[in-house]
């Protein structure tokens, strides 16, 4: 494997759940060294969120098994910030057995933490914090997503870390940002999607607004942080100075409203949610087929589209898109018989032949084995010592010189020896003592 594009960058990842870890996953998959700093015994909250693999039938459940550490703490594990949405999280769903720590086999965690190293370190403890500072002296980037003010309280905010390493870059992700009247507000993915203006636009008119699934606001924030971090790296390499980056999940969402705010400012028009339809185009909607659903739109040539869907009446007289939009119900009614009499696959194939944009409404479970993903080797099979061999989402883009290298997520504290002994030169006795006090 060629060297990754980001080889040589050392990232300290204090973040947990989804937003920060997706940022550092991108950095790690494309070559940076990411050291995940996790709470002793418990680790990243997303290690306990689910989905979990099914319990192996051969091995009886043993709720009191050693090695589960602080895992079984009931409600306290349901934490803010990107709680998983799949996985039932029920105890009966979890594979309690002596040899596997459930914290190592959570599916969400495995996805979000590929290629990272894990150490356990309690930064609420003074000694733990001192060890963190020693690491920071060697680091290029720190990523964190605690509540605003937490880093300062611990004495490891950007200003403090800059004294240890003058050009350090720190990205802080929070629901409402580090400043402003709402900075101390509590948030979650749903609240950020609401406050960011996204869910007002999603769903059926007259019904409640609908969020996007699977914590998308958190991912948006992680993506913004990742882009901002690399901008800061570029500036540092050019000018030698680090800086602090403040990413608000609310703003990450409000940034992708596709002109909704400008449209309001230009004309006073407040966009409303309109179900599966497009704000300005017709036809552009999801329709039932003989066996499922497709998303259908007309593409560049209206007469081609009308011919394909066997609705020649829609071309006489020719309907330009303003007229079509005004008569959306009639236009869709004219198209529907053809769509409903064909299978999803037939509609999709015909549209592809005619170069008309179309999408089959697929379930996530239908993606594996899809010939397009297969032809491009998108999904990756990755071995993991405790979770086994599983299919993972692959690289989000392909780089010709520096392709992504996606490796398994770390076990909790897997790299303690490598980092504390090899990198920081600590002794085994020292580590043993700290372990006893749960600092490591």
């Amino acid at each position: 494997m060629a060297e990754g594009a980001l080889a040589g960058l050392l990232v300290l990842d204090l973040s947990q759940n989804i937003s920060g870890p997706y940022c550092t996953k991108l950095l790690a998959d494309y070559g940076a060294t990411v050291i995940k700093i996790e709470k002793p015994i418990i680790g990243d909250d997303s290690r306990h969120a689910g989905p979990f693999p099914p319990p192996p039938n051969a091995i009886p459940h043993s709720p009191s098994a050693e090695g589960l550490g602080g895992f079984c703490r009931g409600e306290s594990r349901i934490r803010p910030g990107g709680c998983s949405e799949s996985g039932s999280g029920d105890h009966k769903d979890r594979p309690y057995r002596d040899t596997v720590n459930p914290a190592n086999i959570d599916g969400l965690f495995l996805h979000l933490n590929t290629g990272k190293k894990s150490i356990t370190l309690d930064i609420d403890d003074k000694v733990g914090r001192d060890i963190f500072k020693r690491l920071a002296k060697q680091a290029d980037i720190v990523v964190e997503n605690s509540k605003p003010g937490t880093m300062k309280k611990l004495g490891i905010d950007h200003a403090a870390l800059s004294k240890l390493k003058s050009d350090i870059i720190m990205a802080s992700i929070s629901y409402f940002g580090q400043t402003g009247p709402c900075r101390d507000w509590s948030g979650c993915d749903l609240v950020a999607q609401a406050a960011g203006g996204l869910i007002h636009l999603t769903g059926e008119p007259g019904r409640e607004p609908l969020k996007l699934p699977l914590s998308q606001a958190e991912y948006q924030a992680g993506l913004n942080a990742a882009v901002a971090v690399l901008c800061a790296v570029f500036h540092r390499d050019a000018c030698g100075e680090g800086q602090h980056i403040d990413v608000s999940v609310q703003e990450a969402v409000a940034s992708i409203l596709e002109g909704a705010v400008s449209t309001y400012e230009y004309s006073g028009h407040v966009m409303q949610r309109i179900g599966p339809r497009h704000q300005q185009k017709c036809p552009s909607t999801i329709m039932s087929t003989a066996d499922g659903y497709v998303h259908l739109q007309s593409g560049a040539y209206w007469d081609h589209f009308a011919t394909l869907v066997e609705a020649p009446q829609l071309t006489e007289p020719p309907l330009n898109s303003i007229l079509r939009y005004r008569h959306t119900d009639e236009v869709e009614a004219a198209i529907r018989p053809w769509v409903e009499s064909h299978s999803t696959k037939e509609v999709f194939d015909a549209c592809c032949d005619w170069r008309i944009p179309c999408g089959m409404v697929l379930g996530v479970e239908e993606l594996e084995g899809d010939p397009q993903y297969e032809a491009r080797s998108y999904f990756r099979e990755i071995d993991h010592p405790e979770a086994g061999r599983l299919k993972y989402p692959g690289a989000p883009f392909k780089m010709s010189e520096t392709p992504a290298d996606i490796n398994r997520a770390p076990l909790l504290g897997e790299h303690n020896d490598e980092i504390f002994i090899d990198m920081l030169g600590m002794s085994r006795d020292e580590i043993g003592g700290l372990k006893e006090r749960n600092v490591i």
Partner: protein, 429 residues
């Protein structure tokens, strides 16, 4: 905020051939950070919706123009274009003409990055595939964004964001528990692709700083979106368990949803993640009799009776203004937020105080507030420094100053139709 040290991407030049939203969103992020982004447009493809006759078209369509009026040059007054293309420059070059290709190659020689989102055959048809461009500039970084990627059986299939949202598994999960699949309210696949593209560009730029070589990035919108659905994919991979749409609900937490408030189509989002937060909500509601029901004491109990609780909470929220209620619930440390629409966002005091909302003064569209830089940086904050370019506004700067062409040569480009005065009249989008 510390002192300002210029802009993070000063000195980076980007050629932006991209259309619609994915590519322009990627280059918006770069332009906001100080990169010199030059949009290459032509009469056939401007990304500005074509030239509309002067009119007040009304409805959702007219809403894109200042006061609903297309004006003399609608293509310079298009809200969406002017938001996503602020901080950029624009030239016109018709790449279907040989002398247009020549000019474009000269621009490539002095640029760092090219962003395009045509279907994969288009650049090759112009004779401008990556190999050809690398011959002009071995350090060039090219990003090609397409629906399905540059290989595989679907590589030539047409796709818009909505097609990709359906094909990736996202649309099926945007649904009420009893309902059919829906689309995200925004071009979500485009945004996901654009952000990943910006990251890819910056990663490639860093590699080039160290190794001196450019590269080609093949970004499939479908693949970049699928990477954001990892949780459901892992569940399938582990348990062969297809995810089910649950609306605004959460499989392990209740209550968790949007509740109607006073006013027309106004809502509040509330998430209760612990017994402590449940007790705080009870206090906020004034500890009503129903909330003392022991069935609701634990998360398990609340989950089992989520519909009943949701109904009861909504009876209470219906008495309040959504924005005032969010303030009140937050004072109890409850995760709550008003469902904001575009008008409320545009005057949100918190976003305003943070400097997220910025004003752009456009010579043909007027002064308007829009979402500004997507994040705050202490040393290189970035800002809206210039409004979106008018069609062909920077021909003289780019051809004359950057490429050193004489007035006569620039006039020849116009005569040959390589540059254009205006986009073609609007026909179809």
């Amino acid at each position: 905020m510390s002192s300002d040290s210029g802009r993070a991407l000063d000195g980076v030049r980007v050629i932006d051939l991209s259309q619609i939203y994915a590519g322009p969103y990627a280059t918006k992020l770069l332009a906001d950070m100080g990169a010199e982004v030059i949009r290459v447009e032509c009469a056939q493809r401007s990304g500005r919706g074509g030239a509309l006759p002067p009119m007040k078209p009304g409805g959702a369509f007219g809403a894109s123009f200042p006061d609903g009026d297309t004006g003399e040059r609608s293509y310079n007054r298009f809200a969406y274009y002017n938001e996503v293309n602020r901080n950029k420059l624009a030239v016109t070059i018709d790449l279907s003409k040989p002398s247009g290709v020549d000019v474009f190659k000269k621009l490539v020689a002095i640029s760092d990055i090219i962003v395009e989102n045509f279907t994969p055959r288009v650049m090759a048809n112009f004779g401008l595939d990556y190999e050809a461009l690398r011959a002009e500039n071995p350090r060039i970084i090219m990003v090609s964004i397409s629906g399905y990627g540059r290989s595989g059986p679907c590589r030539d299939c047409a796709a818009y964001g909505e097609s990709i949202e359906a094909m990736s598994g996202l649309s099926k999960l945007i649904a009420y528990p009893d309902g059919a699949p829906l689309k995200p309210g925004v071009a979500y696949a485009d945004a996901a692709a654009g952000l990943h593209a910006a990251f890819a560009i910056l990663a490639a730029l860093r590699y080039r700083q160290h190794k001196g070589v450019g590269q080609h990035i093949d970004l499939s919108m479908r693949e970049s979106l699928t990477s954001l659905l990892g949780e459901a994919i892992m569940d399938c991979s582990m348990n062969n368990r297809p995810p089910q749409p649950i609306g605004n609900g959460h499989p392990r937490i209740a209550p968790h949803g949007c509740y109607r408030t006073k006013g027309d189509d106004e809502w509040i989002a509330i998430s209760i993640t612990s017994d402590g937060e449940w007790n705080a909500l009870r206090r906020a509601m004034g500890d009503p009799e129903w909330s003392r029901d022991s069935r609701f004491d634990t998360n398990e109990g609340r989950l089992a009776h989520r519909d009943e609780i949701d109904g009861l909470i909504q009876e209470w929220t219906a008495n309040y203004d959504h924005i005032e209620l969010a303030d009140m619930l937050q004072s109890y440390n409850i995760r709550a937020g008003a469902v904001l629409d575009a008008a409320e966002l545009a005057r949100d005091p918190h976003l305003n105080e943070r400097g997220f909302l910025e004003e752009a003064a456009h010579p043909e569209a007027g002064r308007h507030v829009m979402p500004g830089v997507s994040w705050r940086m202490s040393r290189t904050p970035g800002r809206i420094e210039r409004p979106a370019p008018c069609f062909g506004e920077h021909n003289r700067y780019v051809f004359g100053e950057l490429l050193g062409m004489s007035d006569a040569e620039i006039e020849r480009l116009a005569r040959e139709g390589v540059t254009a005065e205006a986009p073609l009249p609007y026909t179809e989008i």
